[in-house]
């Protein structure tokens, strides 16, 4: 079952002297909810997602999963990256089974357990293939199988489809939410593609830059599966675009101003 995730007053600086990359982020994501995080490149989306995965510890505040503060990564809250990062010395099924092997299953048991998952993701004829011979989309499907194999409560996606061709991307944008909904997995996707956000999320969080903050929020109350041609889709898309522009030009500009004002007055 999906888990809740709360970000409690997270501020982060990569070094003590640096300006904060993230500032006072405080939000809560409900079990089974699907959330998209959008914002300009470099605003701290990946940083925040790494924290949710336990791969990075915030300098202030904390991340709680089901109310428990997390301090290290776990296969139960699992992250997928833009690059599939498969292990070329393992076959497709061994790659998919890796998390289960880390959890203590024998290779044979683990491989058997991921079998239906590979079937479901359309990799039935690729199980014994060397991963280096797969297309980008197929590799990302293996990475998805690898993430799902450990029965995660939370799936964290960091622009996972941005390097794929449009056809594969659209297919995965439909499949991943369907899988998460079916299994009750809480899904958080980082993207800079507004269409992707509307296609995959119940709720979109908009981040500003310097420092990274969550400045806007939009519910996407559309039925599943989402169709890009639907009127509702286009309306939400416009709405999101406007809000995003609003934060980008207005709010963020003002924030940058105050930031420089502060530093000037401090100096």
């Amino acid at each position: 079952m999906g888990a809740s995730l709360s970000i409690d007053y997270v501020t982060h600086q990569f070094s003590p002297s640096a300006a904060p990359t993230l500032k006072d982020i405080d939000t809560r994501i409900e079990p089974g909810e699907m959330v998209a995080l959008i914002g300009r490149s470099g605003c701290g989306k990946s940083t925040l997602l790494h924290m949710m995965a336990g791969l990075l510890i915030p300098s202030q505040g904390c991340i709680r999963i089901n109310s428990r503060q997390i301090s290290k990564p776990s296969a139960k809250w699992n992250m997928m990256f833009q690059k599939a990062s498969l292990y070329p010395w393992m076959s497709v099924k061994e790659n998919a089974a890796l998390g289960l092997m880390f959890a203590g299953l024998s290779k044979a048991e683990a491989v058997e357990k991921v079998d239906p998952l590979l079937d479901m993701l359309g990799l039935h004829d690729k199980k014994d293939v060397n991963v280096q011979s797969l297309s980008g989309g197929q590799q990302q499907r293996v990475a998805l199988a690898r993430s799902l194999a450990t029965d995660p409560d939370i799936l964290l996606l960091d622009e996972p489809f941005s390097a794929l061709d449009a056809f594969t991307r659209t297919a995965l944008q439909e499949e991943v939410p369907a899988i998460c909904r079916e299994r009750g997995i809480t899904m958080i996707i980082v993207t800079h593609d507004i269409d992707e956000a509307v296609a995959m999320a119940d709720r979109v969080l908009i981040m500003s830059q310097n420092p990274g903050r969550i400045v806007e929020e939009l519910e996407v109350d559309l039925p599943w599966p989402r169709r890009h041609m639907d009127n509702g889709f286009q309306t939400r898309r416009e709405e999101l675009m406007n809000r995003f522009k609003g934060t980008d030009n207005g709010l963020q500009g003002r924030q940058q101003h105050t930031a420089t004002d502060q530093s000037e007055s401090a100096a």
Partner: protein, 275 residues
């Protein structure tokens, strides 16, 4: 399905098909030319020695007597004892070289600064001929055998350390991140990620090390010990049996080539890079 039987018959047929045979022969064509050329030069050399009054005592170096001596050594079984001794020393030396070199290489590769710190001293030590350690080895070790093995270890650790460390440095950082994310423990990270990732580099280091060890072994066996191929060469010289000396040189070359080929096969076996 009948696919299994079809494949097996077709491959059995194709083994004898002219195209495969031709390809096999053409693959052997150039090595065969090289070997013939070498034998020819050797033969010329033998003739020159024979026709030179000052050198005629060494005329048994020529191919014909040498191959006769090799035949005698093999049929009498005399050659196996020195081969076994030498290979045993290589085996023990390589085992220590790997046992020390791989962990040290992984450590200094994993700790980025360590490689920078260790680079100059290691390059320095690497450039010292292992034979230069001989006096120290003789003092430090009770038996000649352990002294020789020490020299082999001194010869083999450096290439193994270096290629292992560079293998570790070349690991895609995302591989660590993904594995950590999937809940890998330290030992699991080592066994499932680091070691397979660096296997090709380790094997390349081992191949270099075997080459160096084999080259160092023969002169090392000139000293003290009464077994091994180096000793056999010295012994043949002392008894003026130059045909046997040449035969042992031949054996050294053949075994060296064999060791290198085995390493090369292992590299291919462990290589996961797509050609």
């Amino acid at each position: 399905m009948s696919a299994g039987t079809t494949t097996s018959t077709s491959s059995a047929v194709s083994l004898f098909a002219p195209t495969k045979l031709v390809r096999l022969l053409s693959n052997l064509q150039y090595p065969a030319m090289g070997i013939t050329g070498l034998l020819f030069l050797w033969w010329i050399g033998g003739l020159l020695i024979q026709n030179n009054e000052n050198l005629s005592a060494f005329s048994a170096f020529a191919p014909a007597p040498a191959f006769q001596a090799l035949y005698d050594l093999v049929t009498s079984g005399e050659i196996w004892a020195p081969i076994t001794s030498s290979l045993y020393r290589i085996l023990v030396g390589m085992t220590w070289g790997i046992a020390i070199g791989v962990p040290v290489g992984v450590t200094i590769g994993y700790i980025g600064v360590a490689l920078k710190v260790a680079n100059v001293p290691f390059q320095f030590l690497r450039m010292i001929s292992p034979l230069a350690w001989m006096p120290i080895a003789v003092m430090a070790f009770e038996t000649w055998d352990s002294a020789i093995i020490f020299l082999l270890v001194m010869a083999t650790v450096w290439p193994i350390i270096f290629s292992t460390a560079h293998g570790v440095r070349r690991i895609d950082p995302n591989w660590f991140k993904v594995a950590r994310n999937l809940g890998a423990s330290g030992p699991q990270m080592l066994r499932r990620i680091i070691l397979p990732a660096i296997m090709t580099d380790v094997m390349a280091g081992i191949r270099l090390a075997v080459g160096v060890a084999w080259v160092v072994l023969v002169p090392a066996e000139y000293l003290g010990v009464t077994s091994g191929l180096g000793y056999a060469i010295n012994d043949a010289r002392d008894t003026l049996s130059y045909d046997y000396l040449a035969a042992v040189v031949l054996v050294i070359g053949i075994i060296g080539y064999g060791l290198d080929s085995v390493c090369n096969l292992l590299i291919k076996r462990f290589n996961w890079h797509v050609e």
